[in-house]
Amino acid sequence: MSSKKLKTGASHAALTRRDLLKVGLGGAAVSMTGMTPAWSRDSNARGHIVIVGAGAGGLALANRLARRLPMAEVSLVDSKPQHWYQPGLTMVASGVWRADEVISDNQRWVPSGINWIQARVTRFEAEDRRLQLDSGDTLNYDYLVVATGLQVNYEDVEGFSADMIGQHGIGCVYDTPDHAAKTNQVIADWIDSGGGTGLFIGAPGAVKCAGAPLKMTFTTLSRLEDTGHRDQYDVHFASAGDRVFAVDFYNDFVLQRWQEQGVERHDHHPLRGIDASARRAWFDTPDGERSMDYDFIHIVPPMSAPDVVRESDLVWTDGPFAGNWLEVDQYTMQHRRYPEVFGLGDVIGAPINKTAASVKAQAPVVEENLVAVMNDREPTAEHNGYTSCPLITGIGKAMLAEFGYGNVLLPSFPFIDPKDESWAVWIMKDRMLKPAYYAMLDGRV
């Protein structure tokens, strides 16, 4: 292990004009009242904050902290040069968007004044507040935010690997633009073949955007209906349990709609593996092993926190998330054993969440609580579990499912009924959520 220390300074040089203005106006207010406002004390908090992962969560928080804490040193660690707007992948895999519509340059979102270290963390040493990087460097921190997203465990499905996506009738919308584009192509090939069996696999456990497997089924059904020969295609959906959605209303809605659309459902059918060349899938059902032949299959592999997190002291050690997800308090987002550590985004072990919408709700909570801890205060901001999924029920219409812990509906817009399929909600998905997401990356939402 390298003992070389990485230089992390030089991040204060590039304060933006807005920062200076903020400090200047704040200073004027303070000198007029003779008091020190709380936010001003907060802004003076010092220390080295390291954010691991420059995805949706890492970038949103980095931008917020760059404005909030001009005196702190913030480092962002990630080697990925591109940013992918992942909520757009279902649109790509459904043939509505081009793959390049979800790709942007990561540099565009990294705020000035932040030290972007283009490397990957290979080891978390929580006891020593230290990270090992794949560049061979060591990075010390005072405060750590883990925002590494999750890893898709393709190989947990026997006989399957990521490089098979786009071949042998195999699709998987997770989790790159390339996979999504190839999925669109195999669906198109299957439709062009004029008939056969399509097999859609449900979420095997906690996955990002648990609605995505349903959306892929619905948009493919739209494409099949558009051929005018829907009856020539058999569509099957295999769930690991007996549900397809966490919230009862949406679960019942989807099941009812699929019944009307002629989708054959198979409950308690967790996918064990596939034989790609024979186009056959195996399931471990309560009645023993069962196989099904297909012409097209949409696979949803199991997911977990990245191995580097799973193998660290930061992972949950007991309970339903043990060994798989980052241990945090699901409300404060603070690590339950290491108070200087916070979690953000898909990596955390908490019920529901795992959407960009959750990241939007979590980032201000992490910001507030991190600043509180830096100022020796108790973290009091709480995340209510908010998550959202514009549930596409066909190409051109969607329902806006927004809910939180306990599966309580949390609608944002009084004029949109969360239980109605709507064109306006589709427009949100098609045209407005990407701008809202980019504003979130900018730390503006």
Binding site: I395, F415, I416, D420, S422, W423, R444, V445
Partner: protein
């Protein structure tokens, strides 16, 4: 959501349409200016043809906009959908009238 959030989201939403907005505004300003030089004024008697044409264009927009958003007219279902689509129709119709009405003055052979 504060003003900055709304402005940022609005900016990212409009960015891909900026060229359309610029062309539309330029056309409007150009037609209005030229027509005014020839004696047009805003409340000049509305020619029936400009009203009918704007109405038709507004209706056409209500059919075409769902298709332009990767959807279709048949997907317009809720009260809010209809409200939004009606706003689109009214907006496009009004814009059309602001172009067609002065144009009639611009191309008429003699001034009133």
């Amino acid at each position: 959501m504060n003003l900055m959030s709304i402005l940022t989201i609005g900016w990212y939403t409009l960015q891909p349409l900026l060229w359309v907005i610029v062309v539309a505004v330029a056309l409007l300003v150009l037609v209005q200016l030229l027509a005014r030089v020839r004696g047009y004024y805003f409340l000049a008697p509305a020619k029936i043809v400009s009203v009918v044409m704007s109405f038709m264009v507004g209706l056409w927009a209500m059919v075409i906009v769902p298709i332009l958003t990767d959807s279709s007219f048949t997907m317009v279902a809720t009260g809010f959908d209809w409200f939004a689509l009606t706003l689109v129709g009214l907006g496009v119709g009004a814009y059309c009238w602001l172009i067609v009405h002065p144009m009639i003055y611009l191309f008429r052979p003699s001034l009133p």
